[in-house]
């Protein structure tokens, strides 16, 4: 395996807009909100930015195609800007592009920006549209909850865990995220809810009820990257660096071959293994202080904690119900509320996860600050269980 980029890239500034139904804002206002915060945090001038990556997934419902909306909105003059899209993993893709630019020496300072203005569609949930001219002819017209709900039926069947127990653990996942989100003033949903409310909610895609699903939010997030050396030269102390960035895509095996059992993410397993290796992590359950995982649905978080090798296979239900992933548990997960409560503006989500790690590692997470975290990991997933893009990032303090 390649040497990787551990400690070659430092994060010197981050910004994140408030997430939610930002009726008074377009993508432009959201981008500027995150960008201004990040610039102020980094203490640099925009003229120092040498390259940028722009992540947005549902361009057709807000900014349109290309990276031009970023260049013109943020008045970034004369620099290369690349638009990336990799479904819900888009935000981490933007981070990856900018990080590799810095690590390679192609740019001293690079910016990753992710944005999604979703609440101009007129309805809840993600926009529906063409899947491509050939998939439109045969692929079912399912929804995201419909695709992910199938994990639950397959997981129950595989592990012989009753659907009631799985449902209970799923509810605890959402309960915990609501508890955490209530302490985040930028979160879309800032209200704690009871287990009864979660378990009694209307069905969206069986067995996922309303509270098993994250909402759809407007928002943006931004990261400014440079090398640790330049960071020091800029007067930065307590430097936060990227330890690993890994991406793994389905190659069609889960969808069309017969080796996958439908109960887990094959891609996440590969990406996380490579990330631990890149970051030099031997025992993730002991070494990783906290996680922001792609909890688009409660069941996604449940099985992901196994695919990240934190819970044993078939053991996530028990860990969740034991409170292992709660704010005061062994490895807190979704400490900012997660997609579930912070919100899920698609292109911004991967960067939003990194933002929470960045705050926590610097001790700047306010009321929800964890005690002395050293290593944080983000997991950002696009697509569906049978066909997806898994992106993980390990971020930590530079010792």
């Amino acid at each position: 395996m390649a040497r990787g980029i551990k400690d070659k890239v430092a994060i010197i500034g981050m910004g994140c807009s408030s997430f939610g139904e930002r009726w008074d804002c377009g993508a432009e206002e959201l981008m500027v909100e995150a960008f201004e915060e990040a610039l102020g945090d980094a203490g640099i001038d925009r003229s120092q930015i040498e390259a940028a990556w722009f992540g947005t997934a549902f361009d057709k419902v807000h900014v349109g195609g290309s990276a031009l909306p970023m260049a013109t909105t943020l008045r970034l003059s004369g620099i290369p800007i690349t638009r990336v899209e990799n479904m819900c993993a888009t935000g981490t893709e933007a981070l990856r592009g900018a990080a590799y630019a810095v690590a390679s020496g192609a740019a001293d300072i690079a910016v990753a920006m992710g944005v999604e203005k979703l609440k101009d569609t007129g309805y809840g949930g993600l926009p529906a549209g063409s899947k491509g001219t050939l998939p439109d002819l045969w692929v079912p017209n399912g929804s995201a909850p419909g695709n992910f709900a199938q994990l639950a039926t397959a997981y129950s069947a595989k592990h012989g865990i009753s659907s009631e127990d799985v449902k209970q653990a799923m509810a605890h996942v959402s309960w915990k995220s609501h508890q955490n989100g209530a302490k985040n003033e930028k979160a879309h949903l800032q209200k704690a809810v009871t287990m009864d409310t979660i378990l009694g909610a209307p069905m969206i895609a069986e067995p996922l009820g309303l509270f098993d699903c994250c909402g759809v939010s407007d928002g943006s997030a931004c990261a400014i990257l440079t090398t640790p050396e330049i960071a020091k030269a800029l007067g930065k102390t307590d430097i936060i660096t990227i330890k690993a960035l890994q991406l793994c895509l389905s190659d069609g095996v889960e969808a069309s071959f017969n080796s996958w059992d439908g109960s887990h993410f094959a891609t996440t397993r590969v990406a996380s293994k490579k990330a631990y290796e890149e970051a030099g992590i031997k025992n993730p359950r002991e070494e990783v202080s906290m996680f922001e995982v792609h909890d688009c649905f409660s069941i996604t978080e449940l099985v992901t904690m196994e695919d990240l090798y934190i819970s044993e296979e078939g053991g996530a239900v028990r860990d969740i119900l034991d409170g292992f992933y709660d704010a005061d548990g062994g490895v807190p997960c979704q400490i900012d509320g997660g997609l579930k409560c912070f919100g899920h503006p698609i292109g911004a989500s991967g960067l939003r996860m990194a933002y929470e790690m960045y705050l926590q590692l610097q001790g700047k997470a306010g009321e929800r600050q964890l005690k002395d975290p050293r290593i944080g990991m983000t997991h950002n997933l696009g697509g569906a269980p049978h066909n997806n893009v898994a992106a993980v990032a390990v971020i930590g303090r530079m010792d």
Partner: protein, 482 residues
Amino acid sequence: MTQSVGITAYGAYLPRLRLDRASIAKAHAWAMPGLRGQGEGERSMADWDEDAITMAVEAARDCLQETDRSSITGAYLASTTLPFADRQNVGVVASALNLGRNIKSMDIAGSMRAGTSGLIAALRGAGQGTTLFAAADARKAKPASTNEFQYGHGAAALMLGSEGIVATFMGSNTVTADFVDHFRGAGEDEDYAWEERWVRDEGYMKIVPETVQGLLDETGVAAGDIDHFIMPCTMGRVASGVAKRLGINDEALRDNLAANVGDTGAAHAILMLAHALEDATPGQKILLVQFGQGADALLFETTDALSSLPARKGVAGAIARGKTETEYMKFLSFQDQVSIDFGMRAEVDNKTALSTEYRKKDMVTGFMGGQCSQCGTVQYPRTLYCVNPNCKAHDSQEPISFADVPAAVMSYTADWLSYSPSPPYYYGQVQFENGGRVLMGFTDVDPEDIAVGTSLKMVFRIKDFDKQRGYRRYFWKAAPAA
């Protein structure tokens, strides 16, 4: 005739749903309490994803069974509810059945006699080769009309040829008379009918005996020798009146399936013929009549080969699989007779790239996947590199049909968020016995019928409507096999 021709196999299809007629009467009772008397029994109703084409495909599959599809030399589809006015409808049926390209093909429409007149034409041209003849109809009727109670949706199919005849074609006679008992203007959805008593007295009772007598005279067969008399007619006692006038025995009169199926339009005579063949024994004479701007009469005689024809679901099987439906509003909505607000998700543009569809015709319409010639892996969709992670061979896949391969549910959901004309939208991963795996939409599902491991069969259905352009696209769906 120098060479005998006739029917070599038959098949039938009825949609699973059977609308309880009492539910129709109840829905209209506020305005027409008198309809209560018609609220007895059930009528078949197409699901939202069924039409004349899909029903014809299923009837044809029941008819063809294991028949080598490449032996078929002609295909006909008769219907008054063909989904396309200009795009050969039987062409879709032929593609779904993976018939070859070198076949004669034709749609027949325009009258209740489309089924029988089409059959006469097909039989007279059936000297060489094997012809598939299908008839299907899914007529709409005005809410609260008598037709709404009496119509049913269904299809039947016959294989015609000169080898392996189970019912020999003895002859036919046709009378053409522009007697307008009912009509449906071009572009109209529903029929307009004249007074039943006139239709009975001046129509059926005069035109049908004239037509049948002509046939009996020509073939030299005595009315009393008819074993099965088939005459679709929803008016009470008309068929028996005609039989009596002609001297046909009472016992020969076939059940018109009014009680539990309804009148399936241009398909009905063919459906009743299939039903008769299920009951008939070798050496029996079957007389088939269809009224409509005149009348057609056809005479068949069953052969010994009938007893050795492999078992099929047929009409009896189709009737047996019925599920009672009591939601009248669902029926209206499925037929687009009421516009339900399904929300903005229903607004999605379902434009079909016709060039893509043609390029992938066998894969999509014919449900042909691929089998790797190097490692044997079976997969859908067929791709340029084998999906087996240990193979990945290039250009190695031979077409292989998935349509008749047994399968089971691997995972599934009932999705209330996605738009479906019949919520919730059931779909999931389907594991085929040949090793293939496909994410598919489900149909004909009841909540209690579905679980991980449930056995599935494949059925040909409408996938999406493009209401903006008047197009519809078809694909295969998984349905509980039981």
